[in-house]
C-alpha cells in the first residue's frame, strides 16, 4: 500500500462515528427536508475499471487486484474527513449483517461469491461521522458509490456522488463508451450508472387503502418500488423505496429533476393529503389506530420484527400528527433500526435465539417508549364527535 492509504480508523456501529448514537446516522436524523414523509435520499453510481473484467467474471486474484487498486484510490482521494475501510473478508458475519441492516451494503456484498463467505475479496468504504457515503467494491460492479442524505435531498446526494466520481477519476480510469456511457456488468445500469432513490413512509396511504394506486402510479412512471429491506421484500412498516429504473438517454440532472421536482413531490402531497383527511374526518379512527399501536409497544412482552415495524409506523404517524407526545421523530426512526435482529443482538452483546430476540425487542421498545403518551386533543370531550369521528360517507373500517 502507498503511504497515506491507511484507513481512517475503525467503524463503531453504535455511534456511526457521531456523538448522537445511532440517531446520528444520516438517514435516521429526521431533520431533513420533508422528513415527515421522506426518511432519506440516495444517489448511487455504478462504475467499473477500464480494461478489466467485471467482478463476477474475474478470478479471485483479479478481484483482489481490483480491490487493492480501488482501496488506494478511495483512501487516497480525500473523500471525507474519515473513511473506514471495511474488508468484508475480515469483518465478522455479525458486522456484515449490521451493515446490511443499516442499508449501507447489499446482501450480495455481505454474502460474497460462493465458497466460504469470508474468502471473496470485497469491501465497503464508509465515511465517518454519519455514514453519508458508502462505496462498495467488487459487488456486481467494481465500484458502487452511494451517497445518503436525510430527507428529500436528492440534489445533495447527487452532488456528493458526482464529486466522489470526479475525485476517483483523478487516479482511476472507468470503462466508458460514447454510445452506452459508463459500462456496467448488467446493461440495465449502463449510461449514467445513476440510480436515485427515496425512502418514503406512507402509513396514511395504506390506512386509507390508496397504497395500490401509489404503486400503480409509480410503475406507470417507470419507477421501481421496493420494501424497506430492498429487492423483492414486501413493504414492512409502510416504508417504500422508490427509484428510477432507466439510466440511459437522460442526463444525471434530468434523472434528478424528474424525481425531485415532478414525481416525488406528488407522492409526498398524496400522503400528506391522506394524513390530513385522517386527522380531520376520521380523527377518532386515526387516534385509535395510533394509540392501539402505542399501547401494544408499551406493554407487549414478545414482539417479532415485522409486527414491531408496523406498530412503530403507526406511532411515527402519531408523532407527526401531534397525537403522540414524548418521543421525537429521530427517536422513532432510530428504533426502526435498533429492533432489527443483528442490532438487537449487538446491543445485548451476545447471540440470541428467535424467542430471546422477540423478548429483547419488546423490552427495548417498552424502555424507549416509556415517556410516550397521548395528548388527547379533546375530541372525546365533544359528545358530538362520539360517532367515531368518521362522518357519513367515509369508510372508517367497519367501526
Amino acid at each position: 500500500m502507498l503511504p497515506g492509504s491507511t484507513p481512517g480508523g475503525p467503524w463503531d456501529p453504535d455511534t456511526g462515528g457521531t456523538s448522537a448514537g445511532v440517531g446520528g446516522v444520516e438517514w435516521l436524523r429526521a431533520d431533513g427536508p420533508d422528513g415527515d414523509v421522506v426518511l432519506s435520499s440516495r444517489a448511487r453510481l455504478a462504475r467499473n475499471l477500464a480494461g478489466t473484467v467485471f467482478a463476477h467474471k474475474a478470478s479471485r486474484g483479479e478481484r483482489q487486484r481490483v480491490l487493492d487498486v480501488c482501496r488506494e484510490a478511495i483512501l487516497g482521494s480525500g473523500l471525507a474527513s474519515r473513511v473506514a475501510w471495511l474488508d468484508m473478508q475480515q469483518c465478522t458475519p455479525a458486522d456484515r449483517a449490521l451493515l446490511v441492516e443499516r442499508h449501507l451494503v447489499s446482501k450480495q456484498l455481505a454474502r460474497g461469491r460462493g465458497g466460504p463467505s469470508g474468502s471473496d475479496p470485497r469491501a465497503a468504504a464508509l465515511s465517518l461521522p454519519g455514514e453519508r457515503l458508502c462505496v462498495m467494491v467488487n459487488e456486481e460492479d467494481h465500484l458502487r458509490v452511494q451517497v445518503i442524505r436525510a430527507g428529500m435531498s436528492l440534489g445533495e446526494a447527487l452532488d456528493g456522488a458526482l464529486e466522489v466520481d470526479d475525485r476517483l477519476q483523478a487516479t482511476l480510469s472507468f470503462a466508458y463508451s460514447p454510445r452506452f456511457g459508463f459500462l456496467t456488468a448488467c446493461p440495465t445500469n449502463v449510461g449514467t450508472g445513476l440510480r436515485m432513490s427515496v425512502m418514503l413512509h406512507l402509513p396514511a396511504l395504506r390506512i386509507t387503502g390508496e397504497i395500490e394506486k401509489f404503486k400503480r402510479a409509480a410503475s406507470d412512471m417507470n419507477l421501481a418500488v421496493r420494501g424497506f429491506y430492498g429487492e423483492g421484500s414486501e413493504a414492512v412498516g409502510d416504508l417504500y423505496q422508490v427509484s428510477n429504473q432507466t439510466t440511459l438517454g437522460k442526463t444525471e440532472s434530468m434523472i434528478h429533476r424528474d424525481l425531485q421536482d415532478e414525481i416525488i413531490p406528488r407522492f409526498i402531497a398524496y400522503e400528506r393529503h391522506s394524513r390530513a383527511m385522517l386527522a380531520g374526518k376520521r380523527a377518532v379512527m386515526l387516534a385509535d389506530t395510533v394509540f392501539r399501536s402505542l399501547g401494544l409497544l408499551r406493554h407487549a412482552r414478545l414482539l417479532n420484527t415485522d409486527e414491531a415495524m408496523q406498530h412503530l409506523s403507526h406511532v411515527r404517524l402519531g408523532v407527526i400528527t401531534g397525537l403522540v407526545r414524548g418521543p421525537d421523530l429521530a427517536r422513532v426512526n432510530a428504533l426502526l433500526l435498533l429492533i432489527q435482529p443483528t442490532h438487537l443482538q449487538r446491543s445485548l452483546g451476545h447471540d440470541l435465539d428467535q424467542d430471546q430476540r422477540r423478548r429483547a425487542r419488546a423490552t427495548l421498545l417498552r424502555a424507549r417508549l416509556k415517556d410516550a403518551g397521548g395528548d388527547d386533543p379533546g375530541e372525546s370531550l365533544n359528545p358530538g364527535d362520539q360517532n367515531g369521528g368518521a362522518g357519513p360517507g367515509t369508510s372508517a373500517g367497519g367501526g
Binding site: 473484467v53 467485471f54 480510469s173 438517454g249
Partner: protein, 165 residues
C-alpha cells in the same frame, strides 16, 4: 510452434482471409518485425488473431474475456467492458428496451484532464494485461507450457508481477 521463416519459436500469429481461404502466418518476433507485423499490436488485434486461429464455440465469444452471448443471456451479466463492443448489434435492442427506447448516452463523460490522458495509457496497458492473462490461462489449461512461459514474461514486463498464478 516454429517460425515460418526460421527455427525460432513463433510468437506472432496472424490469420488473414484471402479469396475465402484462411492464410496463417506464424513468425518469431524478429521475422515479424521485418515483415512489418509488429508484435506489440493492440490487445484487441492480438486477441482477435488468436481467437480467429481457433475453431470452436469460443469464436462466438467476446474477444477479450471469452463470455458468449448465450452466457450473457443466461446470467444477464456481461463479462467485461469489451463485451459491449463484441455484442453491440445484439445488445442494442435489449438495451433500448430496458431504457425506455433510449439508445444513446447523454450524461457526463469521463473527466477529460491530464490525469485522464495518463489514464488512457493505463487503460490500454490494462486491456493488454487482461488479454495476456486470458491467453495465459488458455495456454496453461492446454498444456502449452512454452507459450505460457512467454506470456508470463510478457506479463511480468507489463505489470512487474512474476509469481506463477
Amino acid at each position: 510452434m516454429k517460425c515460418d521463416h526460421c527455427d525460432n519459436e513463433a510468437t506472432v500469429h496472424e490469420v488473414t482471409i484471402k479469396d475465402g481461404v484462411n492464410v496463417e502466418r506464424h513468425l518469431c518476433e524478429q521475422c515479424a518485425a521485418t515483415e512489418g507485423l509488429a508484435p506489440a499490436a493492440g490487445p484487441v488485434e492480438l486477441i482477435k488473431a488468436v481467437l480467429e486461429s481457433q475453431v470452436g464455440p469460443r469464436s462466438d465469444g467476446c474477444p477479450l474475456c471469452g463470455t458468449t452471448f448465450d452466457e450473457f443471456r443466461h446470467q444477464t451479466l456481461l463479462g467485461c467492458p469489451g463485451c459491449y463492443e463484441a455484442f453491440e448489434s445484439r445488445l442494442a435492442p435489449l438495451i433500448e428496451r430496458a431504457h425506455e427506447g433510449a439508445t444513446q448516452h447523454v450524461g457526463r463523460a469521463p473527466r477529460a484532464t491530464e490525469g485522464a490522458a495518463v489514464s488512457e495509457a493505463a487503460r490500454e496497458r490494462a486491456m493488454r494485461v487482461m488479454a495476456i492473462r486470458r491467453m495465459l490461462d488458455e495456454a496453461v489449461s492446454s498444456e502449452q507450457f512454452e507459450r505460457a512461459a512467454q506470456l508470463r514474461d510478457e506479463l511480468r514486463r507489463l505489470t512487474g508481477e512474476g509469481a506463477p498464478r
